[in-house]
Amino acid sequence: MFDQILQFLLTGITVGSTYALVGLGFAIIYNASDVVNFSQGEFVMIGAMSAVALSAGDTGLPLWAAALAAVLITTLVGMALQRFAIAPARGASVVTTIIITIGASIFLRGVALLVWGKDLFALPPFSGDDPIQIGNATVLPQSLWVMGGAAVLVFGAQYFFTHTTLGKAILACSCNKTAAHLVGINVGVMLLVAYGLSAALGAMAGILVAPITFASYDTGVMLGLKGFSAAILGGMGNPMGAVAGGLLLGLIESLSAGLISSGYKDAIGFIILLLVLFFRPSGLFGKASVERV
């Protein structure tokens, strides 16, 4: 029994790490522009699919170069989203921006469908696929890549926002755009950087898990939902909360799939999310909102 649980925990943390990265991307964009970006999952898909496409075949790039190029492509897509879809709709209501990002996600999915078709693709594992024994549980080397990669990215993002001028400038914009502008921060550029960063994080998550979960033009939908759930669970606008929420969601899903029923694992995840919201309406680590009258 204990071995089984250990196995579920390992799977849960692997899945949770991807959710955490997508959730972190959600939180960054939400903080910078108050937009819930429903095309966040598409960043993951574009990252994974372009890495596959660039590294495929005999003439393909080596994996590291393909991954780098894929992250760059996705970053540009994220910036384009900000520049051409979000920026022109400044001042639109929450629901309107939600529909814009949903439109963007359908558009990006349509483009992916045109370019890559409906097939499933996989990246080769980064370092072989011999399972590693931990106690009586096994773990794929790629899972370690996912966990390690996610940890590096999360701490990197944390460092970026607390210790670099650029990161602090973005934070300043999310606190108060006018004040940030007054102290000489170029708010428009900061928004572009935030969207690019969020897209890059999504792409890296996609490339890390592509060897395990495969990728197709529509993998982004479910991941986007899970990322949104992670961000909400942790408390909207709290990046580290989103990371914790993602890990928690991954663990809940893997444990309920293993111990209760795999068919209901998503339902159990959402039921727990709803229960959390009923008792803590601003998520686990979110600040309680105060309505100004």
């Binding site: 709709a89 439109g103 349509g110 045109l114 759930s229 068919g263 339902a267």
Partner: protein, 336 residues
């Protein structure tokens, strides 16, 4: 009379269309789905547009209505009519139970909670195979009949759903202009302010949530009898999003806007089929573009455009008159 002029216009359009285009696929087949979508969009608009409470899980109530009718008629041999009532009662109770805790949430948290609710209901429909037929769905659902008049052709379904749409639109228009409709709009503006005015915001929000769920459930039952087949795909998260899109595209807080949005979003994929592989991309592009350039929705956007055009024409006419007048004056001076 003026208040309901749009309603009469809609009624005339519904009655006249099948006579202008008899046996037309776009009127009796796509038109019927557009009508059902319009009913759902109008009900969702009561909640979203007027009360300001976003719901990304409206398809759940549509699905519960459809499956209640489907299960009771095919597995237990019920007459179709009472199943519509049972479905509505079941949906109403469920909506009432979840309304209070869910509607306490705000903004994105409310969006997430309703989204989760929709996905949970969808998963249960898929997983409870012994009852719902699972992913394969349920077939052989009998059609409706009214005093021996079998609703068994596209044209007859057009009549039934057209009538239902008019009833729902009329209901929505009257609610909005009633005391509780004003309460809804007040709490949309500010909940605290509405409470200061003596409005019980929790009860008002619960009421409109249950009402929207009831309408969706009835639409679901009718949908099940019309299609004679239901499968979980029709009630997924995507359909909820589509409904929200109809409301926002048409224009929030406008019943006619919701109808317009539903009609456009039902016809658009039919028209985009000719683009084959480009269909998805173009659909997303149109959605994005409309919301960027007309954030108030098509209905309000088009109205404003029209107003601007007429105003410009008026101004042009006035300007012409003015120049005419000065010219005459100059001419008079010349004479003097």
């Amino acid at each position: 009379m003026k208040r309901l002029s749009g309603f009469f216009l809609l009624a005339v359009a519904i009655v006249v269309l099948p006579f202008i285009f008899p046996d037309n696929y776009f009127v009796t087949v796509v038109g019927v789905s557009a009508g059902l979508h319009a009913i759902l969009a109008v009900s969702l608009n009561l909640l979203m547009g007027y009360a300001g409470q976003i719901s990304l899980g409206h398809a759940a109530f549509f699905g519960i209505g459809a499956y209640t009718s489907a299960i009771l008629t095919t597995r237990y041999g019920w007459n179709p009519w009472p199943t519509i009532l049972v479905g509505a009662a079941f949906t109403g109770v469920l909506a009432y139970i979840v309304a209070r805790p869910i509607l306490k949430l705000k903004g994105h948290y409310l969006a997430m909670a309703t989204l989760g609710l929709g996905i949970i209901v969808h998963i249960f429909i898929v997983q409870l195979g012994w009852l719902t037929g699972g992913p394969d769905g349920l077939g052989g659902i009998p059609t409706l009949s009214l005093f021996g008049w079998e609703v068994d052709s596209d044209a007859r379904w057009y009549v039934v759903i057209g009538a239902l749409l008019l009833i729902v639109v009329w209901l929505a228009l009257n609610i909005i202009d009633s005391r509780s409709g004003r309460a809804l709009r007040a709490l949309h503006g500010s909940e605290v302010a509405a409470e200061m005015m003596g409005i019980n915001t929790a009860a008002t929000k619960t009421g409109v949530f249950v009402l929207a769920a009831l309408i969706a459930s009835v639409a679901g039952s009718v949908f099940a009898h019309q299609q004679a087949f239901v499968s979980p795909d029709s009630f997924s998260f995507f359909f909820s999003i589509e409904l929200v899109t109809m409301v926002v595209l048409g224009g929030m807080a406008s019943t006619y806007g919701a109808v317009l949005g539903a009609i456009i979003l039902t016809f658009l994929p039919e028209l985009l089929v000719v683009f084959e592989d480009y269909e998805v991309m173009i659909f997303g592009g149109i959605l994005m573009g409309t919301m960027i350039f007309l954030p108030q929705g098509l209905f309000v956007g088009l109205q404003e455009l029209l107003r601007k055009l007429t105003r410009r024409r008026q101004r042009a006419a006035q300007a012409a008159q003015a120049t005419e007048a000065t010219k005459q004056k100059e001419d008079n001076h010349g004479v003097a």
